[in-house]
Symmetry: C2
Subunit: 211 residues, 2 copies
C-alpha cells in the first residue's frame, strides 16, 4: 500500500489528464485514491497546491532530460566547430517526451496531462506549467537561431509555436482521439518509435521550409 500522499498524486494526475482541472473534484480524486477527503488539504493545502505538485513531480525531471539533451546538441556542435541543426534541437524536445509517454502507464497519464496543460484555460495551471517550460523554450529558440540563421527570429518563433501545437495535440489525443475513426476504423500506431518517426520529420520539414 503506497503512502497517502502518493496515492492522491497518482489519482489526481489520472483524473486531471482525463477530464481537466476544473471538472475534477477533490471528492473524485480521494474516492479513486481510496483516501479521506480531508487528507488533500492536509498534504497539499488546497486544490491549487495539489495540481502544482502533480505537475511539478513529473515535469521537473522531464525538463531536466530535455535540457541535458539540448546541452548535448550544443556541445556536440561546438566540438565540431559547427552549428546545431534544427532536427536535433526538435528531437531534444520530442524524444524525451515520447519516451516518457511509453515508459509506464503512470507516466502515460502524465503525458496526457502535459498535452492538456498547453491548452489549459485555468490561469493557475497555466502559470505553473509555463513557468516550468520557459527555460526550455528559450534554449530551443537560441538553438534554432544558430541552426537556421537565414530565417528571421519572428518566423522561427511561430514555427516553434506550430511545432509545440502539433506535439501537444498529439499527446492529448493518443488515448482518446476523436479523429481515430477517420482512419478506416483501424487504430493508427501510437508506440514511441512510430510517433517520433512521424512527428519529427513533420516538424523538421516545417521548421526548415524556405522563407
Amino acid at each position: 500500500m503506497k503512502e497517502t500522499k502518493e496515492r492522491i498524486l497518482d489519482s489526481a494526475e489520472n483524473l486531471f489528464a482525463e477530464s481537466g482541472y476544473q471538472a475534477t473534484s477533490l471528492r473524485a480524486i480521494t474516492q479513486k485514491a481510496e483516501v479521506n477527503l480531508a487528507s488533500v488539504n492536509y498534504h497539499f493545502g488546497s486544490k491549487e497546491g495539489l495540481v502544482d505538485e502533480v505537475i511539478r513531480r513529473r515535469l521537473v525531471p522531464l525538463n531536466k532530460l530535455r535540457m541535458q539533451q539540448l546541452q548535448n546538441v550544443f556541445d556536440h556542435a561546438s566540438s565540431q566547430k559547427s552549428n546545431p541543426n534544427a532536427e536535433d534541437i526538435l528531437r531534444a524536445f520530442i524524444e524525451p517526451t515520447i519516451t516518457f509517454l511509453s515508459s509506464s502507464n503512470s507516466l502515460r497519464h502524465f503525458t496526457l496531462l502535459i498535452g492538456r496543460s498547453f491548452a489549459e484555460p485555468d490561469d493557475t495551471v497555466r502559470k505553473i506549467f509555463f513557468s516550468l517550460m520557459e527555460p526550455i523554450f528559450n534554449t530551443m529558440m537560441k538553438g534554432l537561431k544558430l541552426a537556421l540563421p537565414n530565417i528571421t527570429e519572428e518566423v522561427l518563433f511561430w514555427r516553434l509555436h506550430f511545432s509545440l501545437g502539433a506535439t501537444s495535440h498529439t499527446l492529448r489525443c493518443i488515448d482518446n482521439c476523436p479523429m481515430t475513426q477517420l482512419f478506416n476504423g483501424k487504430d493508427p500506431a501510437t508506440d514511441a518509435e512510430s510517433l517520433i518517426g512521424l512527428l519529427l520529420p513533420f516538424v523538421t520539414a516545417g521548421m526548415e521550409a524556405p522563407q
Copy 2:
C-alpha cells in the same frame, strides 16, 4: 438593443472562449449579457443546449465555406485532368478559419472557442464539435490521398493530425499567448495575412516531407 437570445449567445461565446466550458457559470453569462438567469433555460433548455447552439451558430457556416473551397480545389484539378495539391487542400481549411478570425471582434471570440474545442475535455462539447468537423476531415483526407499518392494513408492521417494541432494551438494563443514574452518582448504579428503566410508553408512542408 439585441434580442435576449442573441445576447446570451454572444456572451457565452465570449466567456467559453476565455475560460472554457466547465469554468464558466450561467450566472457569469447572464450577468455579462445583462439578461435574467432563468432566460438561459427558457431559450436553450440547459447549459448543454446553450453550448450546442453557440458552436453550431458559427461552425456550420464556417464549415460550409471550407467545404466549398475544398470542392473548388477538386473541381479545378479535375478540369485540368490532374490531382489537387496538398497546399490547396490545407489552404481550404486554414484560409476560411483565419479570415473568420480577422473579420470581426465577435467572430474573433468564436475562433478562440474553436481552438479550445479541439482540446476540450468535456465529452458533450467534444461530441458536438467533432460531429460537425468529421465531414471536413474526411474530405481533406480524400484530397490528400490524391495529392500525395506516394505517402501511405496512415502517415497522411498523422500529418493531417499534426497540422490541425498546429492550427488549433495557434487559434488558442492569438490573444493570450503565454509564450509571447519569449519573442524579445515584441508582439509577433497576428493579422490574417501574416498568419496564413506563416502557418500554411509550415504545414505544407510537413505534409509533403519525403517518407
